[in-house]
């Protein structure tokens, strides 16, 4: 009786979430560079301007700092802006408004205001765009109390988490890996939300826990498939949210598997994997560990242009397979 579930690309899923939110709530509007007739640098807003008009799909000047500040001010005064950064790298131009204003306004003002702004960040490498258009800066923003930072890995979650973000009373930063935009997957029609702050076990396994973020969830699942052929049973957790971190799901998994690998594209040092590792080190799951914790992450370099070099600086499926194999076989 089940029809084949409807499939959308990740970009279409985000667009659908924004359209639904704008239909349901007049306060929701979009701001960003070239999101109108151009449709956004990655065609995420697409033709929304035709449906909702230029007042609700607002092209901004190339003014990331000012634009982010306008979004913060509008959010403080009753609107629900969704601000698209053309590339996540451009967050660096707007850190003042994100870190000093959006994140802290409610606190500084003793709870007298909320800042229900959503900021969208096309992130990650793999497009040949080199060092200034390929970064993964989610750990930067994850370090700031007052923000929520999410990284949906599937079209289903992109729609559901974005809808949750739009309805959230606090500032939510959503990092969308550019290589996921074209990925298709089942996406339910209509409104639904996927909770912020909740990780999900994507694949159950007994031998090792892999905690992955964003595109690395898919790479980890591929690695798990390969290793299943070798008799290694990998549990894959999709972290989904960088802040607030769902520590409990990780702890419960490691209690079961006794081994932990974390994998993300953002730079390894002082990164999300360190926080995941510390979560286990500080919990009773530490007693269950049979092997050292392994962290995979971005190399200590800017993202290079050359495609081979570009691949080499972020974890790939064979890197994950090798790390897990070594860990489980006791070579580490």
């Amino acid at each position: 009786m089940d029809a084949t579930p409807r499939e959308l690309s990740y970009a279409q899923a985000i667009q659908e979430a924004m359209a639904l939110a704008m239909e349901a709530d007049e306060r929701v509007f979009l701001m960003g560079e070239d999101i109108g007739v151009y449709g956004g640098a990655f065609q995420v807003t697409g033709d929304l301007v035709e449906r909702f008009g230029a007042d609700r799909v607002m092209d901004t000047p190339i003014s990331e700092l000012g634009g982010a500040g306008v979004a913060v001010g509008a959010a403080m005064t009753g609107m629900r802006p969704i601000f698209e950064f053309q590339f996540s790298d451009f967050a660096t131009l707007a850190m003042e408004q994100i870190v000093n204003q959006a994140a802290k306004m409610r606190y500084m003002l003793g709870g007298e205001v909320s800042v229900p702004v959503v900021m969208r960040f096309p992130a990650g490498s793999g497009t040949g765009a080199a060092a200034q258009h390929s970064q993964s800066l989610e750990a930067w923003l994850g370090h700031v109390p007052g923000l929520k930072v999410i990284q949906p890995a599937t079209p289903h979650d992109a729609k559901g988490m974005l809808l949750a973000a739009i309805e959230d009373p606090d500032p939510v930063m959503i990092f969308e890996h550019k290589l996921l935009y074209k990925m298709k997957g089942p996406v339910p029609e209509g409104h639904y939300t996927v909770p912020i702050g909740k990780a999900e076990v994507r694949r159950e396994g007994r031998d090792v826990t892999v905690v992955a973020t964003s595109i690395m969830v898919h790479k980890a699942l591929d690695a798990a498939e390969t290793l299943a052929g070798e008799g290694i049973d990998v549990e894959v957790i999709d972290l989904k949210t960088v802040r607030p971190l769902d520590r409990q799901t990780i702890i419960e998994s490691v209690r079961k598997t006794s081994r932990l690998v974390s994998v993300h594209e953002s730079v390894k040092t002082l990164g999300i994997g360190a926080e995941i590792s510390a979560t286990i080190a500080e919990s009773d799951a530490f007693d269950y560990l049979d092997a050292p914790i392994v962290r995979l992450g971005g190399a200590e370099t800017p993202i290079p242009y050359n495609p081979e070099l570009e691949k080499a600086v972020v974890p790939q499926v064979p890197d994950i397979v090798a790390a897990i194999r070594d860990l489980v076989s006791g070579r580490r």
């Binding site: 500084m108 003002l109 003793g110």
Partner: protein, 345 residues
């Protein structure tokens, strides 16, 4: 006052009066004087409490700039909004805040406007339309534009004033915000209170244009220069800008030239300006003294009336400080309250 009424009977005499004396009745003008005193005595009270160790941190006093804050806020309705600066006590009072809750905030108490989380540098009165002072130079300017965007989208009829200092005019946020406000014709008034120095660096040394209002040309909006120590002149410019904003004609940049008597903050040794310069402003261009003189000249108040205002303000300040002293401090266990609207489980 009878004298004021007599003047209103004569059309010709009226036309020659400064704007404020044509625009406001005598009671309103006396209340303006009272509020200017309230701002000054509030800051003196805050400074004194700081010296006594009752307030920690630092503070940035706007003593000498009272006419600017009052003049700009005169045409604003309670629902209109402002964003303010680190030197924002005057803006907060001029917009209508209660000095009791301001002192309580400075004392770090739960009865303060920010429940002890913000202090002087983040003083706000959201219900009264003050979206907050800001510790980042220029930080409030794009936020004001965002508030004006909300007003336009929600058709509330509100206007938004963004106060900032001369230092902020060299921040990128200033330029980006003015440009967007003009492109989108938003109901916002940019008020640069130019007190001559961004901390220690004079505008001559920091700013390529002679007048900050000259920058308005680049953003296709009126740029108006006023004597920030002349209440009437400031109020007149603000009325015009508010009218323009409410009519949907877009933003205005007002440069209010003024002077701060105190140092930048409590760490200032005043090495970048002369005592003679400070004395000259205090003696010859004090905004409260100037306004008082005008009020007396036009028969709106006499010495006894001024004395009564001073006494009344003194009492209000004393009561405010007492309220702050006896108010409860926040519980340390609540330190994470207000980080998020709903705290994550």
């Amino acid at each position: 006052m009878g004298a004021a009424r007599k003047r209103t009977a004569s059309g010709d005499a009226l036309a020659n009066l400064p704007f404020a004396f044509r625009q406001y009745d005598a009671a309103t003008l006396r209340d303006v004087l009272r509020k200017m005193y309230l701002i000054r005595r509030f800051e003196e009270g805050a400074e004194d409490s700081y010296t006594r160790g009752l307030i920690h941190g630092t503070m940035h006093l706007s003593i000498g700039q009272e006419a600017s804050a009052m003049g700009i806020c005169m045409p604003l309705q309670p629902a209109d909004q402002i964003t303010s600066t680190h030197r924002g006590h005057g803006h907060c009072i001029a917009k209508g805040a209660d000095v009791k809750r301001m002192f309580a905030e400075f004392f770090g108490k739960t009865t303060g406007y920010c429940k002890g989380r913000g202090g002087s540098m983040h003083i706000a009165d959201v219900a009264g339309g003050n979206l907050g002072a800001n510790g980042i130079v220029g930080g409030g300017i794009p936020i004001a534009v965002g508030a004006a965007l909300s007003a336009k989208k929600m058709k509330t009829g509100k206007v938004v004033v963004s106060f900032f200092g001369d230092g902020a005019n060299n921040e990128g946020a200033f330029h980006e915000a003015l440009n967007m406000a003009s492109v989108w014709k938003l109901p916002v008034i940019f008020v640069c209170e130019n007190n001559g120095y961004g901390m220690s660096t004079s505008t001559e040394r920091s700013t390529a244009v002679k007048n900050i209002a000259d920058r308005a040309v680049a953003y296709s909006m009126p740029g108006v220069i006023v004597d920030g120590n002349n209440f009437s002149e400031v109020a007149e410019a603000s009325h015009a800008a508010v009218e323009r904003a409410r009519a949907g004609e877009g933003p205005t940049l007002i440069e209010s030239k003024t002077y701060r008597y105190r140092g930048h903050s409590k760490s200032d040794r005043n090495r970048y300006r002369t005592k003679e310069e400070i004395d000259d402003w205090m003696t010859n261009r004090d905004p409260i003294l100037a306004f008082e003189t005008e009020l007396k000249e036009f028969g709106i108040i006499d010495d006894a009336g001024i004395e009564a205002i001073r006494e009344d303000v003194k009492r209000e300040i004393e009561e405010g400080i007492e309220f702050a002293k006896v108010s409860p401090s926040p519980d340390v266990r609540d330190v994470a309250q207000f980080v998020y609207t709903e705290e994550p489980a």
